[in-house]
Symmetry: C2
Subunit: 403 residues, 2 copies
């Protein structure tokens, strides 16, 4: 079987005209002799609109009913795409997450795929049909409708590509591929032809919004080749695949930034074992996603501890801090929303030294102060003032000659 | 089990505030000690909006995908109603047509319920939960999503009430019950306390839009008592049930009218056996719903044949006429959209004579010309000029002292 799984995002399906355009795109693939599965997101902002509707009913809608509500979005787009393809003389059939055999656990609003029982999908493909699958949703073994969380349609597409041994999983979106930096910030940014799973993961977690991290993790784990490309033209996009030797030649693959984090500093914390565990245990319990953590050198038995959290979780994080007062004796807790995280990512860092120094030097030359630093094997991130973020990205893009 | 099935129409669920209001209504019923199943339609005009969306893709969307599309409407309203009830401290769970075990045939967009396997509904009720069921939709034995056609939510409610032996099936709507005539036309129209299935069927097929005919047929067949009442107040509405002796005392139960039909006349048709069969066979093949049929007395071997069809099917009917030219030699075919059908309905007609004469007299007194007449055991319908329809309804309401 020569099978291609394509995934169409909400912006590629936002209007009836765009849906017809996507239909042509699917048919073009079919005409090339491939079996095609098209995984769809909800049209445009449908998901956000449905969430708004739920919030008008109650601030805490509850996961089960929220999933029931949100899963209607893909049902609309998949039926319309299927109608469009059928009206153009090709045979399509739309299948819900449940009908496609996307079996998940029961963690509503962020379920994980446990298994794919794609018998029905295979039957329809065998009849020569184009299969349209609702992304983002599945069904639990208890027969409850579940959703996979933000960007879940990417995961659906990758999981189906793996389960059905597709040649490739195409993610069709509103950009031409993965870039060395955001082209809106750095006009000379280049589209990457190829990038490793690890690099894509680091880019995604550092602010690049092309692809959902979970889908890349899944692809990495199962060796699914992803092709990110534009739904509006036929250009070759960016291939995401297993790292190979040629990739190591590139020191830095891309520069990215994230302005949706805030910094929290707890000042005057006693410097003794178990304190950090208490603080971050509390935050974990409250489901706060802590990103960077820094502890200053101890000074006379007390220290300052800083960490970053998503803007949207800052309130909860500060509330946790207040509750910690009962357990830990610290001076005060302060929040700073005016920060940005700037990162460089590249597999080549593994085998080359001096990349960090070059980064710090480039920022210093531009008089941009570094407030926090964190590093992984293939990524270096610096926290800077939010107002300097774009400047920092431009400087780093130039310094590492990515243009 | 003391069980009440309530059905909420689209106008009762059109906004988040109305959904909260419906939630209180459901809870009030639960507080009285009943198990409650609430069957919901899609919010406001959602179904029409979805159909519009489909038409923007293609004029012929195809039944299967249209059902997939439309079934998302109830999924939204049921999830929201369930959230509202949960947020008010009661336990609710929403179930799709499929999860509720509404098994239908595979005739997409107008499927018929074959069977109700309500195991899951019963399990949830046994846990003390209020069960919200998506109206209008089901699933076929081939696991395809189906819809029951216009007004299908009424049918879902009645079918569930039958299958689960509910005390009563309440249809909650935007009017107080079934009236002797449309109160917008006849201000002195009275709400009926009780009406037989047969009378309701005749009223529904004559233009009264309170209830879908199929649901009444189903209720009649299985003896399900229906209570039509307002969702906006606690007033007792109209009970629809088996005819009993007391009902025969009422000669005429109500007056109704329908301005959505057109008259077609085929002139100069040969008056010989088999001609009518050919004409109406052709129309049936084209799925045209013919209502009244009249054939004039033959004059020198040729005759005129008139019939009425829904406005929306007039074009198809005329096309059928043109095609018949090849088989039958007739003079010409003319359409008249400027008509209305005015009907009186009452079980008492069965045992009383002279009702028809009284009707014709009342219309004559008001100088309203009768163009076609048709009668059933408990109904008399007259076609009049559309401009005179409301006048005719008022005159008949007065003549039969229904005020």
């Amino acid at each position: 079987m020569n099978l291609i799984v394509q995934k169409y995002g909400g912006t590629s399906l936002a209007t009836p005209d765009l849906i017809k355009r996507a239909a042509w795109r699917v048919i073009a693939c079919k005409k090339q002799g491939y079996d095609v599965i098209a995984v769809v997101s909800a049209m445009g902002n449908t998901t956000d609109e449905l969430i708004d509707l739920a919030r008008k009913i109650t601030p805490n809608p509850g996961g089960r009913e929220l999933d029931m509500l949100l899963s209607s979005g893909e049902r609309i787009s998949m039926a319309l795409l299927s109608m469009a393809i059928n009206s153009m003389g090709f045979n399509a059939v739309s299948l819900t997450g449940s009908q496609s055999g996307i079996i998940t656990d029961t963690v509503h609003t962020k379920a994980r795929i446990k298994e794919i029982k794609a018998q029905r999908v295979l039957e329809e493909l065998a009849k020569g049909k184009i299969v349209i699958v609702a992304g983002f949703q599945g069904v639990s073994l208890e027969r409850e409708i579940t959703t996979l969380g933000r960007g879940g349609s990417d995961t659906t597409a990758v999981a189906l590509a793996y389960a059905l041994k597709a040649n490739v999983c195409e993610i069709l979106t509103d950009v031409d591929g993965v870039y060395t930096a955001d082209p809106r910030v750095v006009p000379e940014a280049r589209k990457l032809d190829v990038i490793s799973y690890e690099e894509m993961l680091e880019l995604a977690s550092s602010g690049a919004r092309v692809l959902n991290s979970r889908s890349v993790e899944f692809a990495k784990q199962h060796g699914v080749v992803i092709h990110v490309r534009s739904s509006f033209n036929d250009n070759i996009g960016t291939i995401i695949k297993e790292e190979d030797e040629s990739m190591e030649e590139i020191l830095v693959r891309g520069v990215t930034y994230d302005t949706n984090e805030a910094k929290v500093t707890i000042r005057g914390v006693p410097d003794r074992p178990g304190i950090a565990a208490k603080i971050f245990g509390k935050l974990a319990q409250a489901n706060v996603n802590v990103d960077m953590i820094i502890q200053n050198v101890s000074d006379s038995g007390v220290t300052d501890m800083s960490f970053t959290v998503p803007d949207s979780e800052l309130k909860t994080a500060l509330e946790c801090g207040r509750q910690l007062r009962d357990e830990i004796d610290f001076k005060d807790i302060v929040a700073d929303e005016d920060i940005a995280k700037v990162s460089i990512v590249g597999t080549g860092m593994r085998t080359h030294s001096g990349v960090a120094a070059s980064m710090f030097e480039a920022l210093a030359k531009n008089n941009i102060n570094i407030e926090m630093i964190s590093t992984s094997e293939i990524k270096i991130s610096c926290v800077v003032r939010r107002s300097r973020a774009e400047e920092a990205v431009k400087a780093l893009h130039k310094a590492f000659e990515l243009g």
